[in-house]
Amino acid sequence: MSTRDLVLVALFAAIIVALGLVPPFTLGLIPVPITAQSLGVMLAGCILGAKRGAAAVLLVLLLVAIGLPVLSGGRGGLAVFAGPTAGYLVGWVAGAFVTGLIAERLVRESQPELAQLLSFLAAAIIGGIGVIYLFGMAWLSYMTGKAFTEIALASLIFIPGDLIKAFVAMLAGRAVLAGYPLLPART
């Protein structure tokens, strides 16, 4: 990893931490506040690509583990990893990696705007929602005893909010690609 990559990873991790400290966004139409931190996970993949994006998220989780209150609402410490929802956090790393992998393969700077937008949306939904829920639910099934199916179904109420985040990640990913392209292309 070059020094520039190392710095990009650290800066993006700092952005994810900062997104947990700013007050939650409210989108015009929807009155529900959106915590921006899981949006940061999708963005890490969309903007930095698979390897650096996953490294940035891993760095955030490392800060959590060593006892810094860097998750939204000032949460942190090992207790976060002992709870039933820890799988979603661990899934962040894989989620950013898969998001980045798909974005690297689909997105080209020479493409028309619509193709780029759709590629980013696919990457954010598959990596940032699909993969994260896969990890989160697998962990839940281990931690929660017999009521796994019911709890897994209940966790689906967060999907609409996550779809909004994927949409924001798509727009922001494409805007950053236009302004300061960093995403490595992969064939």
Binding site: L11, A14, I15, I47, L68, L78, K146, A175, V176
Partner: protein
């Protein structure tokens, strides 16, 4: 502003090494998942709460830190009660509750630098295979702590700029310039690091 969650003190838990505490926490987690009886698990949860309280954290702060995780534990226990049995619910409640409190006790008694030393040691085998460099990890951690306040200040600046021009503050309008401005600094920061020879390549 980004300070660690450790509480100053001189209890046996404070004096124990980070490695010992992590090994004990891991062993306790395995043991908690092997026990089925809610009574034994309740005893474990009470012992864990006692240990957490003995770190000198104080009731209000101690509760504030774990309330969110304990809330998710309670939800999971409730689901077990509604769809299965009281025994299942109590077992899950006390098992996860004990684990959360033990983990919080380790965090409250271990400084960030003690954790960092332990992580550097754990990374050494990986370093031998050339997968990751321990020095890079601590450099990255330092960079994050250094730049979070800067990014927050920049976030404030961008909002002010929007307000000054009478623009409505929308998530995208703030997020995109924030990311681009921050990542554009990477080249200068990398150059500064290399100029000082921090990574000795």
């Amino acid at each position: 502003m980004l300070t660690g969650l450790d509480i100053a003190g001189d209890t046996p838990l404070h004096r124990a090494s980070a490695r010992l505490k992590l090994i004990l926490l891991f062993t306790a987690a395995l043991a908690l998942f092997l026990v089925e009886s809610p009574w034994l698990l309740a005893a474990a949860a009470i012992a864990a709460a006692g240990l957490y309280a003995s770190t000198g954290i104080g009731l209000a702060e101690g509760f504030r830190r774990v309330r969110f995780v304990l809330f998710t534990v309670a939800l999971v226990a409730l689901a077990n009660y509604v769809f299965h049995s009281l025994t299942d619910a109590l077992a899950v409640l006390f098992r996860l509750g004990a684990l959360v409190l033990l983990a919080a006790a380790v965090t409250a008694t271990t400084t960030v630098s003690a954790f960092m030393d332990e992580i550097t040691r754990l990374l050494r085998p990986l370093e031998r295979f050339g997968l990751v460099r321990a020095a890079d990890v601590s450099l990255a951690v330092g960079l994050v702590l250094r730049f979070v306040p800067e990014i927050l200040a920049r976030y404030g600046d961008i909002r002010e700029a929007h307000r000054a021009r009478g623009l409505r503050i929308r998530p995208l309008g703030v997020l995109v310039p924030l990311i681009i401005l921050t990542l554009k600094d990477a080249d200068t920061i990398a150059m500064a690091i290399d100029a000082r020879g921090f990574r000795r390549q």
